[in-house]
Amino acid sequence: MITNKSEILDKIESDFLKDETLNFNIGDTVKVHFKIKEGKRERIQVFEGIVISIKRSGVRKTFMVRKISASIGVERIFPFHSPKIDKIEVSKRGRVRRAKLYYLRQRIGKAAQVKRLVDHDRGKKVQKTQGTSKK
C-alpha cells in the first residue's frame, strides 16, 4: 500500500496522462485539432496560433495559443492531456529568448511575429514536423 500522499496523487493522475510528450516549444506555430460536440455530432475545429506559454506539469499541464482573428487577438488555453485534443501539428518552429511571450500582446502587425528557427548546421529552415499521434 502506498502511504505517501504525492505518490497516491501521481498514481491517480497517471491514468489521465497521454503517452506522448510535448512536441512543440514556446514560439512555435501550432495547429490544435480540438473536438467539439454539437448535439450528437462531433466535429474537429482547428485553432492555429503561436504558443506563448506552457504552464504546470503532470495532468495539469496547459499551454496558451495566441492568434490574430479579424484583427483581434484571441488567446486560448488548452489542457495538454485533454482527451478533447485530437492532435497537435507544428507548422512553424520559432526562435525565441523567453519562456513566456506575453510581450506579443503589446505588439501590432509585423512586430507581433516570432522569428523562424533556423538550423545553422544545415543552413536551412527546420523541417516541418508531424503532429503528435492520437491518444
Binding site: I2, V59, S82, P83
Partner: protein, 210 residues
C-alpha cells in the same frame, strides 16, 4: 441515516470525465473502518455504530487496550459514531469499506477547517476597510457599536475579531467522481474542509439523492 466512513484527506488534483471536461477532485483515503461497538435504543436510548480508523501504535492507555482486546481489534487512532436507523447490517469487528459509496453518489463531508488564528473583522467577516491615507486614521477597525444611550450595549452575535477557522464544517452534496476499492480511495468533486492529512467524515447526502 446510514453508515458513513472516516477518511483522511490526501490532496487535490484534477481528472477528465468521459466527455473530456476537467473536474477538480479531492482525493481521500477512506477506510477500511472497523466496527467497534453498536448502540441500541434498548441499551443506550439511540441507535448508532462506532467506527475506528487508522491503527494506533503509540500511547495506548490501559483502559483503551482493554476495550480493543475485548473486541479483538488493533487499537484505532480515530473513532467516530455514526447515527443509523434500524439494523446496520454490520457486526462488531467487521470492516466498512469504500464500496458503500459508488460513482455518482452525493455525499456530505464533515471536517475541521484550517485554523487561521485570531483574525480581524476584515479577514474573518469580509468587512470593508477604511482609507489607508489622506489623514484617515481609520484603517482596519470593526466599526462603531453599542450606539447611544439606547441600547447602550453591544448585541450578542455582533461580528467582531476572534478565532477564525478550526471549527467543524459540513460541505453538502458533493459528487463522488470515482471509487478505487483496491487503494481505499474516493475521488470527490470540489474542495473539502481542512488541510491535507485532515481527518474527515463522509456520509450519504441527507438532502439530495445521487
Amino acid at each position: 441515516m446510514s453508515v458513513g466512513l472516516i477518511a483522511r484527506k490526501i490532496g487535490m488534483t484534477q481528472v477528465f470525465d468521459e466527455v473530456g471536461n476537467v473536474i477538480p477532485v479531492t482525493v481521500v483515503e477512506a477506510g477500511p473502518c472497523y466496527v467497534l461497538a453498536e448502540k441500541t435504543i434498548k441499551k443506550d436510548g439511540y441507535e448508532s455504530i462506532l467506527l475506528g480508523f487508522m491503527d494506533k501504535f503509540k500511547r495506548v492507555r490501559r483502559p483503551e487496550k482493554g476495550f480493543y482486546d475485548k473486541i479483538k481489534t488493533f487499537p484505532k487512532k480515530v473513532t467516530e459514531e455514526f447515527r443509523i436507523e434500524g439494523e446496520s447490517g454490520y457486526k462488531v469487528g467487521e470492516q466498512v469499506k469504500v464500496d458503500i459509496f459508488a460513482k455518482g453518489d452525493l455525499v456530505d463531508v464533515r471536517g475541521k477547517t484550517k485554523g487561521c488564528g485570531f483574525q480581524g473583522a476584515i479577514k474573518r467577516h469580509g468587512f470593508h476597510r477604511g482609507p489607508m491615507s489622506h489623514g484617515s486614521r481609520y484603517h482596519r477597525r470593526p466599526g462603531s457599536m453599542g450606539a447611544c444611550a439606547d441600547p447602550s450595549k453591544v448585541f450578542k452575535g455582533k461580528k467582531l475579531p476572534g478565532q477564525m477557522g478550526m471549527t467543524n464544517r459540513t460541505i453538502q452534496n458533493l459528487k463522488v467522481i470515482d471509487v478505487r476499492a483496491e487503494d481505499n480511495l474516493i475521488l470527490i468533486q470540489g474542495a473539502i474542509p481542512g488541510p491535507n492529512d485532515n481527518i474527515i467524515q463522509i456520509n450519504k447526502a441527507i438532502k439530495k439523492k445521487g
